[in-house]
């Protein structure tokens, strides 16, 4: 009898890998969607079992050696509090966006490409999950390529609703490849000097051999990695690929990407900076704190201002995403428990809020065929559930109390205040939320206090299949704002593990 429990980590990657390829065979109509939903649902269930297994284990770590090869030679999947949490987010949001995707894809992707869409979609999830679960640096790169290539394809699938999707995808491809090559170079240098690809071994050797950390090779590797990861997680000013990609991708893809792709980029950064290089080297020896905190702060302010000048709401949310990633980056750049915990918490909270908001915009597009500020006029009355979800998500971005965004903000501000002389950063966090008020409120005013354009089509509420996943995400973002004891336990544990493992 095959033991599911013992093989959980590998199943989470192999099921979507094989299942994704098989999707091509499912034909037309609703079948590819149903198959993808089945796959992602199964994966989500497995990640839930995995997080339970991690918390049940004594060490808090589940290690799995592929093919029973010892980790020095083979690939190790290593799951702890941090990545089991991220896995759940990726798989959960992946599952919900797959359910949501049906209507969005019917509208925005030609029917004869449905099976390809879902095949690529599931493979993208496979890549993202794989990056998150693996403990092997080269394996990270391989899976990164799987996820990147599939995501470029997903963005390009929007070409039938907007030609811009093709150039957006190309731009994403070029910048993404630059980032990936930087990461590959960084990993290569690290492998050269440590002679291993296992993350834990890399860390051990970097810190056991005297003088190795000061070597030029390690410094160059560090620089390559920080820049490469910066591109992947859309750190300002390396975010250039993101706004267009999110704007022109099909709605479901925007929702999936905003909630998972950049988050996995942040997770990789955690692994490289904290687990491999260690807090002491990354944040004390190197001036990473200042570089990242400055980039993040500038990002929060600049993209906030840019967002409030957009009339295309998807583009507005895209800029807002860069700003919100700024919060996440700012949090871990502080390298203290509150900061890192805030950062990890915001990975979840932002995934819920932004995923839900992109879904709401997708529903608006489904009915109105456009998503600019004019198109939402008077929609508060016509699509009450969609717009209410959007507003609740917006309140989360603002960091309104009793939404998840408040929890992240609480930790981040505390993290800033905990570092001596870093309190102005707390001001940046708070000013960023004011910018969120401004750009969210333009939508509120249009939706609730302005009359619809005379030429606007008379629309009704979005289909239930769109509303349900949207409201699960938004509802969760409110729930985790009212009762964040569970998430804060996980995030603080993860933060302590990251900081203590130096």
């Amino acid at each position: 009898m095959f033991d599911v429990q013992a093989n959980l980590p590998v199943l989470i990657v192999t099921i979507p890998l094989i299942g994704g390829i098989l999707t091509i065979l499912t034909g037309r109509g609703w079948k590819p969607w149903a198959w993808a939903t089945l796959l992602t649902g199964t994966i989500f269930y497995l990640t839930l079992r995995l997080i339970v297994a991690v918390w049940a284990s004594k060490t808090g770590i589940v290690s799995y050696e592929l093919g029973n090869w010892p980790r020095q030679w083979g690939i190790e999947y290593r799951v702890d509090a941090l990545n089991s949490f991220i896995l759940c987010i990726v798989a959960g949001v992946g599952f919900l966006t797959t359910i949501y995707a049906k209507c969005s894809v019917e509208k925005e992707v030609p029917a004869d490409r449905n099976n390809f869409f879902y095949a690529v979609w599931v493979l993208a999830l496979c890549g993202l999950l794989g990056i998150t679960i693996t403990g092997d640096a080269f394996n990270v790169y391989v899976l990164l390529e799987i996820s990147s290539l599939t995501v470029y394809a997903l963005v390009a699938m929007g070409k039938d609703t907007h030609r811009g999707a093709l150039t957006a995808s190309l731009r994403y491809l070029i910048l993404g490849s630059v980032g990936a090559s930087f990461i590959l170079l960084g990993i290569g240098y690290l492998m050269m000097i440590t002679g291993t690809l296992n993350m834990q071994d890399m860390h051990d050797r970097l810190h056991s051999v005297p003088g190795i950390l000061q070597s030029k090779t390690v410094l160059v590797a560090f620089a390559f990695l920080v820049v490469g990861l910066g591109i992947k997680m859309a750190m300002f000013p390396l975010h250039m690929w993101l706004p267009r990609a999110y704007t022109y991708a099909p709605s479901a893809v925007s929702a999936l990407l905003s909630a998972t792709a950049t988050k996995v980029g942040v997770y990789m950064t955690f692994r490289f900076l904290f687990t491999i290089f260690g807090v002491g080297f990354s944040f004390m020896t190197m001036p990473t704190t200042w570089v990242l905190a400055l980039c993040a702060s500038a990002g929060i302010i600049v993209t906030g201002v840019t967002a409030l000048r957009q009339t295309n709401l998807k583009r507005m949310l895209a800029y807002s995403s860069v700003g919100q990633l700024g919060y996440i980056i700012l949090g871990f750049s502080l390298a203290n428990v509150n900061g890192v915990a805030g950062s990890v918490a915001h990975i979840l909270n932002h995934a819920l809020m932004k995923g839900g908001m992109f879904m709401a915009l997708g529903a608006v597009f489904y009915r109105m065929n456009r998503v600019d500020l004019r198109s939402v006029r008077g929609l508060g009355r016509r699509m009450p559930f969609t717009m209410a979800a959007f507003v609740l998500g917006g309140l989360g971005l603002i960091g309104f109390p009793l939404t998840a965004g408040f929890i992240s903000k609480w930790y981040l501000v505390q993290g800033c205040l905990d570092r001596p002389h870093m309190w102005p950063l707390a001001g940046v966090v708070l000013v960023g939320s004011l910018l969120a008020v401004v750009y969210t409120w333009r939508v509120v005013e249009a939706a609730y206090f302005q009359e619809p354009d005379p030429g606007a089509p008379p629309v009704t509420e979005a289909p239930t299949l769109m509303l349900v996943p949207m409201w699960i995400l938004i509802g969760a973002s409110v729930y985790f704002g009212i009762d964040a004891t569970g998430t804060s336990k996980i995030t603080v544990t993860a933060a302590k593990a990251l900081l203590g493992g130096s």
Binding site: P401, L402, W410, V413, Q414, L430, F449, D483, A484, S488
Partner: protein, 530 residues
């Protein structure tokens, strides 16, 4: 999660359920309004039922021992919790009792002016009251902040109600200032407090004593926190963050009356007093010599706002600036940091409420009956609307602080507190501002009763609106309406008249029977002296 229905929780739920039912009954206006009135009545009953417990002799003993009512644990150690204490009790009593009269008034006003979106109006109103109840009974700073923000959010649709470009612009100012101050300063202060003390609970004497004794917090640090809190509470309209209040006057008058003369602004000064008493502790602040600046700023706010009020021709704007000045009375009294001054601050929260709501009711009635918004249009209106203007006079007397009105009581305590603490500046401010109050209220009364109605009415209204006050908040149609069908107006619809008569009466009654308010203020004082 805690689902036991104890009275403070009920006080939050009742308006919430009311809002839900109002939304359901939106199609039948009479049912809808009946639900509003019944909800308000039930709420007052529940809130009043709490009073005896708070007034009990051993209240503070029980307060120190009893656990707060915990609704949710939001973060480890940070709870959403409720706890009843005298100050909040008084605030909840005022808000819930005036809600009944205000609902009655709203019916007359909203129907008289044929306002649109009336269901949304009543729903948001009930939601705002629910937030006020949560604010009044908040058991810690976090809960207070949550309801403070919810109050901003639920009143926003009421300010933006008209949906015109101007209403939206004013509503933006409203939201912008209130959210900016609360997020940038108040929230920062609360998070810093949590970082320093890991204790957000309200306790008489404050939470910082230990941190100060151990050196974790220094005197200047305490001062910085105090600034963060005082300017974080934008709803208290301390200058220069008062701009949102005149902006909010664009809302329908019942909103201005209950929310922007009583509930929202009082939520501001209530929070100021609450933070001074329960988070900082007056004694701590005095001991470390922090917070004296507040007296000067509040004094300046009183005088400057009164001076601005003097030059406003738009009646509601004049009342708004009068409110700004009256709010700083509460702040200046609290800033004196003596037991009797805290009592004065508490009483003024109550005393100002009755007078100011009467004034707004009168202003709204004049608008409904005569479509007049400017003071220069009011010549001789006392003859056509005798009840309204009589009530207005009582309200104005209360603002000035003359007996036999409510305003006299609190001013009396305030002056004695100022003498007792030897702040002659405060005595001077109070006297000067009393004169200013008289200077901007008495001419209105004089006009209304002793001047003959203007003959060339239309021309007069037009020139004043176009000339000096062209950008005021009254709708452009107001002056056009003046001659069409309103030339021979009488009083406003009867619910409005009844409501404003009741509040005017209450203003006078408060002078003779202010026992409940004084008892509650005494109880608060006892807590301070323990």
């Amino acid at each position: 999660m805690h689902f036991e229905l104890s009275p403070p929780l009920l006080a939050i739920y009742i308006p919430l359920i009311g809002a839900f039912l109002i939304a359901l009954a939106g199609r039948w206006p009479n049912v809808r309004e009946a639900i509003t009135l019944i909800t308000a009545g039930v709420l007052l009953y529940v809130v009043a039922g709490l009073a005896p417990r708070v007034l009990a002799d051993d209240f503070w003993l029980a307060f120190a021992r009893s656990q707060p009512l915990r609704l949710a644990q939001v973060l480890p150690g940070v709870y959403l919790e409720l706890k009843v204490e005298p100050l909040g009790m008084l605030f909840a009593l005022i808000a819930s009792s005036l809600w009944i009269l205000n609902s009655l008034y709203s019916i007359g006003y909203m129907r008289g002016n044929k306002e649109h979106h009336q269901t949304r109006f009543y729903v948001c109103f009930a939601l705002a009251i629910s937030s006020v109840m949560g604010l009044a009974f908040a058991g810690n700073l976090f809960t207070l902040f949550v309801f403070y923000e919810l109050l901003t959010l639920t009143t926003y649709p009421l300010v933006a109600h008209k949906g015109t470009a101007e209403a939206l612009r004013s509503a933006r100012t409203y939201l912008g200032i209130l959210v900016t101050t609360s997020v940038c300063f108040l929230l920062a202060g609360i998070i810093a407090t949590w970082g320093i003390t890991h204790d957000l609970a309200f306790k008489p004497g404050g939470v910082f004593t230990q941190a100060l004794a151990s050196g974790a917090l220094t005197g200047p640090g305490l001062g910085v926190l105090f600034i963060l809190y005082m300017y974080g509470i934008g709803k208290a309209a301390l200058m220069p963050v008062h701009r949102w209040l005149p902006a909010a006057m664009v809302a329908p008058t019942p909103v201005s009356a209950l929310l922007h003369a009583v509930a929202v602004v009082k939520a501001g000064v209530f929070t100021v007093v609450k933070v001074i008493v329960y988070t900082f502790g007056p004694l701590t602040l005095v001991k470390y010599g922090q917070g004296e600046w507040l007296i000067w700023i509040a004094g300046a706010t009183i005088l400057i706002a009164s001076l601005i009020a003097l030059f406003q021709d738009n009646l509601k704007r004049r009342l708004a600036y009068s409110t700004v000045s009256q709010l700083s009375y509460v702040i200046i009294a609290a800033a004196l940091m003596s037991p009797i001054s805290i009592m004065a601050a508490t009483l003024h929260i109550a005393a100002h409420a009755f007078g100011k709501i009467t004034l707004f009711f009168a202003a709204g009635s004049i608008y409904t009956a005569a479509h007049k918004t400017e003071i220069s249009q009011l010549d001789g209106i006392g003859r056509k609307m005798p009840i309204t203007m009589a009530a207005f006079t009582i309200g104005a007397l209360s603002m000035i602080g003359l007996p036999p009105t409510a305003g006299f009581i609190s001013k009396w305590y305030m002056l004695s507190a100022a003498w007792e603490t030897d702040y002659h500046f405060v005595v001077g401010v109070i006297i000067l501002s009393t004169l200013l109050n008289a200077a901007y209220f008495l001419p209105i009364i004089y006009r209304a009763f002793f001047r003959a109605p203007a003959q060339d009415h239309h021309h007069h209204a037009q020139s004043s609106a176009d000339g000096v006050f062209g950008d005021e908040t009254h709708p452009a149609s107001a002056s056009h309406h003046a001659d069409h069908g309103h030339a021979d107006h009488g009083e406003a619809p009867w619910p409005a008249v009844v409501a404003l008569s009741c509040t005017a009466l209450a203003t006078v009654v408060f002078f003779f029977y202010s026992d409940l308010a004084i008892d509650l203020a005494h109880q608060l004082q006892k807590g301070l002296l323990r």
